[in-house]
Symmetry: C2
Subunit: 335 residues, 2 copies
Amino acid sequence: MLKKVTIYDVAREADVSLATVSRVINGSSVVKANTRDKVLAAIQRLDFKPNEIARGLATSKTTTIAIIFPQMLFAHVKDMIGGIGDVGRHLDYNVCIYTTDEIGDADPIDSVIEKVVKSRADGVILFNNEHIQHQIELVQKYKIPTVVIGKRFSDERIGSIFVDAKAIAYNIVDQYLAKGKKDIVFIDTKQNLINTQDMIQGMKEAFIKHQIHFDENKQVLPTSPQYEDSYVQLMGYFKSHKHDLVFAGYDKEAVAVVNAASDNNIKIPHDMEVIGMMNSTYASICRPTLTSVHMPIYDMGALAVRLLTKILHQEEIDTKEVTVQHLLMPRDTTM
Amino acid sequence: MLKKVTIYDVAREADVSLATVSRVINGSSVVKANTRDKVLAAIQRLDFKPNEIARGLATSKTTTIAIIFPQMLFAHVKDMIGGIGDVGRHLDYNVCIYTTDEIGDADPIDSVIEKVVKSRADGVILFNNEHIQHQIELVQKYKIPTVVIGKRFSDERIGSIFVDAKAIAYNIVDQYLAKGKKDIVFIDTKQNLINTQDMIQGMKEAFIKHQIHFDENKQVLPTSPQYEDSYVQLMGYFKSHKHDLVFAGYDKEAVAVVNAASDNNIKIPHDMEVIGMMNSTYASICRPTLTSVHMPIYDMGALAVRLLTKILHQEEIDTKEVTVQHLLMPRDTTM
DNA sequence: CTGAAAGCGCTAACAG
DNA sequence: CTGTTAGCGCTTTCAG
């Protein structure tokens, strides 16, 4: 590693004090244009890159945000990384990722949070998951500004970005019940980015409205987040089942439904309709193409870091709870 | 933000000097067991988390590695993040991600590298892509230890993790030519994690071996990395084309081939065979299920950070160029 | 085995 | 408008 050029070198080269150099790299307006140019020239000549670590120590800020998520979730949130990366870059933040849930770790979440604390990230983005409450408590203990994606939190201290999961489920179910299609099943996968409880609640309320009994044990079917596993499970399931509508928390599982049902000679959408969620490439690939609820994944990532930085900079914030819009994209698995 | 507890607080609490505290948190063996316990107790009591930033300044190490990749690549490398995250965590490294190729940025790569330099990441992982050579030069200029995933580099200064792309293509093509199936087309997508040039080279060599003319203009078909786009393009293409075999650099494009061909009434695999690459979930979802070349994506990520840390720690390294194994997974798009 | 002291590279009062 | 100086929290000689 070659000797790095420091602010001292620049100061000497430009024949000013290091304070002045510091001022120009931080855009302080009180520097004479002439001096500024001298310094800028020296910076250029020396190819000086300010050491963020040193700056971090001096300001107790790292301009780094940590994002923590269970690996499994990744397949569904890849576009979110795009949003997070883009606005992170624009706002000049570094984004550090921390994955959880590797098998074999005794206390994965706690140790991950500990790493984040040590790294002194300015803020953290969490994804809704089974352990979200625990994670939030840990993070809050260290007063790290937080926004969570995927579930509404009405908590003064944390921001949240989410879709109205209850409404999604309610509207779909309501619509089918109105048409007399009452045999409706929801496919539930663990580690839902979308709040599963809210979806089930939405289902329930639609059933209540139509005064039809809702049996959670029969109408909520848990599956593996692994396609191969859920497909096998569903191959068995559809040997003896058929419903008016099945909808799933993720497209991947909806596709498993479509394929497993089709392979059991259930004609889709004629015999059974299927709706997925996320409107991912999986939906376009599926045959018949999958009707899916579109969600602005990229935007959710972008909004999350935007909101987080607003919190960090104490900017004006209209609301810490931001609902993003969803939209049903009808394709060929529904009539 | 509450006042953070520092090493001074611990020193006072334990009634020792801060040098001693530093020694115990760094596992120096020269501390008397008795003293160590006292310090440990104090650390516990105060819930002290060493400030990595300060440590970084003092040691000029950040225990952070940067990973830089084009967003588009993400769909294909999601499992790699798992590998990178897991071993990063085990080795106690932070991993910072930097995405490139957002539209509208004048000089995206240069500015990203600049961010990495400023952040003083200890090392960097790059993914093979169109601009890889330029990226490497930039990174090398700052002497940042580097490993690249997806392409072999016989360069003293950088490590690389890759599959033998040429062999993949050669073997597949050779096998089909031997069966008399000579009409073979390769679907090329930009931003290939797998080195496309190598694959084409492998094709060529197989054709040469069989003394058959190879026409790169006709036998290499470029497509969009966006499924919807490539599907539309291929829908047009297969109105007037049909081949013995088409294989693609990614499963997603192979699926587009399968769907577009099927929708043009080409029977797969009877009329035309299709092979994808990566053995991703797309391959399992596709109907008929897609034959695909499996690659150890997770492992490539894991190996990359392992190799990088070996370089960083100056550990013994047998080779800086590590080939990972691939394996053809036959499914229903081949006979 | 432990403490004192000098940095790591930068920011931020405080003078001038 | 610019320079001086005191930290930020930790590591690392160097003494003892």
